[in-house]
Subunit: 264 residues, 2 copies
Amino acid sequence: MGSNPSQQADDRGTVERRSRYPEYSPSSRRRGVLGQEVVDYVRELILTGTLRSGEKIDQQALGEALEVSRSPIREALVVLSREGLVELIPRRGAAVARLSPEDIIDHYALFGVVAGRAAALAAENLDADGIADLRAVHARFLEVGDTVSGGADPEDASLVPAVLQQLNHDFHRIINLSAPGRTRWLLRHLEHSVPTSYYEFANGWNRAAVDHHAAILDAIADGDPEGARRAMESHLLASGEAAAAELVTRGFFDVGAGPEEGAV
Amino acid sequence: MGSNPSQQADDRGTVERRSRYPEYSPSSRRRGVLGQEVVDYVRELILTGTLRSGEKIDQQALGEALEVSRSPIREALVVLSREGLVELIPRRGAAVARLSPEDIIDHYALFGVVAGRAAALAAENLDADGIADLRAVHARFLEVGDTVSGGADPEDASLVPAVLQQLNHDFHRIINLSAPGRTRWLLRHLEHSVPTSYYEFANGWNRAAVDHHAAILDAIADGDPEGARRAMESHLLASGEAAAAELVTRGFFDVGAGPEEGAV
DNA sequence: TGAATGAATAATGTATTCAAAGTAGTCCCC
DNA sequence: GGGGACTACTTTGAATACATTATTCATTCA
């Protein structure tokens, strides 16, 4: 039988004393996309703050936690380094990138100018159906937003952020669809490589988002590219400020530093 | 090639008595950066058109050509796929991305909005020294540009594109330096992942570039962020059109032998 | 006492091996 | 003669093995 991959992690008795990496249950592990799976896992750890800024990433330990070899781990780290979430230093391994609040704000500003281009194009090209879709999403967005500020059932309220998140995503997606392929490609990357989605709608600032979206929608419906661009840019600038502030309060930027510096 | 800016060669100044020993840079193959070497090699092949659009990339053959194993090859392909130069299909391998002229134009437009942001910031923040540097580079640019149109020594003229290329790079670099880190990071990526630098100054359109640069310079010197942004955007839009046209004439977009393709 | 040196240890980068999925080509059946 | 299924070969993705470099830690010398 030789080397069976499943016999590598038979030592279940060995409680992971040093495992910094949460357990991972492979939903359905397909060959050929293992690296992508690792990317998603590590990105989640970084964006949620489980792995701290500057913290070293141990390839072997990570591989053991996910029960994969170092090959896909390595590929994943390369991907994340290209996203700017991981710093890769030759012969010295990988560490979580040290992002500052300014980086987050800058990132959103970039997001803004690119999404602004998409919005301008949408103002020029979006057809009646698209605008109708946009209106529908926005109406629902406004509705759910009012629910939360109207002191609704708290049990219900816990779901609100996720719903808003989804609606927000839909709103932007409709706009972005009228942009050319390369622009959409860049927007996807910019969206994924920042701890955006996790916190944007956790607090009350979605009220501002509603107003911003309204302005964007109006400009697009009016066929006003320049107005749409400006509205989208300022929307994301404000989002960036809010996100950075939120991340500060969550200690996202606290440095986890290198080895043996856990205390204090 | 020579472009190995060594990531972030920052704070090396910490005391270090040993720092007086000269650095030894092995011209031979350094371990630890093989992947990067492969990236540069393959990117060159793609951007110069040696590898055609859609052409399949054979990992093993590539590894034999470079005398490395498939591990660094694989990492390199992941990097290139994130740059959008290579298409990676699970279980089916890698192929040169199928870029269209529209993609190139779109890419330059993106470059434009991001570089436009940098230019706007430069108009706000660039100090007198920076503006002086910018003027100096531009003057030299203009001078060399006149040389070529003034029917200079043809032997000399063959060097002109490279010089213009360098001056162009310097011009933009000065501007970009006043942008925050994340913006510079994105600009670097946008610059590298397109067959820009190889052809931009091969023909006479540098005359247009001179005018554009002049407009950008004026706006920055005047402290006019919006004007600088617009000038930079239209500069890169024009550059994109020119680059796409040039690439068409060079057959860059001709489809090579891929899976179920070509076969005249 | 403290820095420098060198061995021991750990982790990284690269090569190699192995299993599974893809591809091509042939043969058989209709 | 054409189409589908089967087999043999190729190539990929992942695991393991190996070589080299970083790091740690104890020891020595100033």
